[in-house]
Amino acid sequence: AQTVTQSQPEMSVQEAETVTLSCTYDTSESDYYLFWYKQPPSRQMILVIRQEAYKQQNATENRFSVNFQKAAKSFSLKISDSQLGDAAMYFCAYRSVGAQKLVFGQGTRLTINP
């Protein structure tokens, strides 16, 4: 079974600076999807970014980018120019190709210091 590990329960960063959230996963599959979800204090979980394992290019969405290291089974999220609205719980998730369910990590609580 696949597992996802987020080893940083909490992180903090100064506004306008860059922060990187770590995620590692364990799988024997060669093709899969990886996701970062954000859960702000209002609790509605939203998708931040998604990566297909067969794509070598790292995904980016505006200030959010990933560092996908397939051999190391690592999928970190980099947030540039941090804003107060980025404060949230961030979850890394894995999904097998052809499957519907997501496997989530434990989450990282990100605090933005003004």
């Binding site: 329960p9 999807y33 979800y37 209002s42 509605q44 979980m45 979850f91 519907q100 989530f104 434990q106």
Partner: protein, 113 residues
């Protein structure tokens, strides 16, 4: 925009009560999910449904059941609530297709006394 709604934001029940958590999505999605979220454990899948009247157990189905009589509605049932079921419950639906993204509801904070 996809909308996933849950019947209650906060719920307080007593041990032994039967509890219904309702989830509705408005985008005709085939797949719907129930997760529970606990600090330090992330989200864990309880049950999911891939079609009306079809369901599949997730990782922690014990003590729960589900019902999907209509495509847009997926209910989570706690037959006899216990204190260890105090948690945040999140519903999600899956778009399918190339985008293939799960959309989440706002969550229900359930407290069992």
């Amino acid at each position: 925009d996809v909308k996933v709604t849950q019947s209650s934001r906060y719920l307080v029940k007593r041990t032994g009560e039967k509890v219904f958590l309702e989830c509705v999505q408005d985008m005709d999605h085939e797949n719907m999910f129930w997760y529970r979220q606990d600090p330090g454990l992330g989200l864990r899948l309880i049950y999911f449904s891939y079609d009306v009247k079809m369901k599949e157990k997730g990782d922690i189905p014990e003590g729960y059941s589900v019902s999907r009589e209509k495509k847009e509605r997926f209910s989570l049932i706690l037959e006899s609530a216990s204190t260890n079921q105090t948690s945040m419950y999140l519903c999600a639906s899956l778009s399918g297709g190339e985008v293939d993204t799960q959309y989440f509801g706002p969550g229900t904070r359930l407290t069992v006394l």
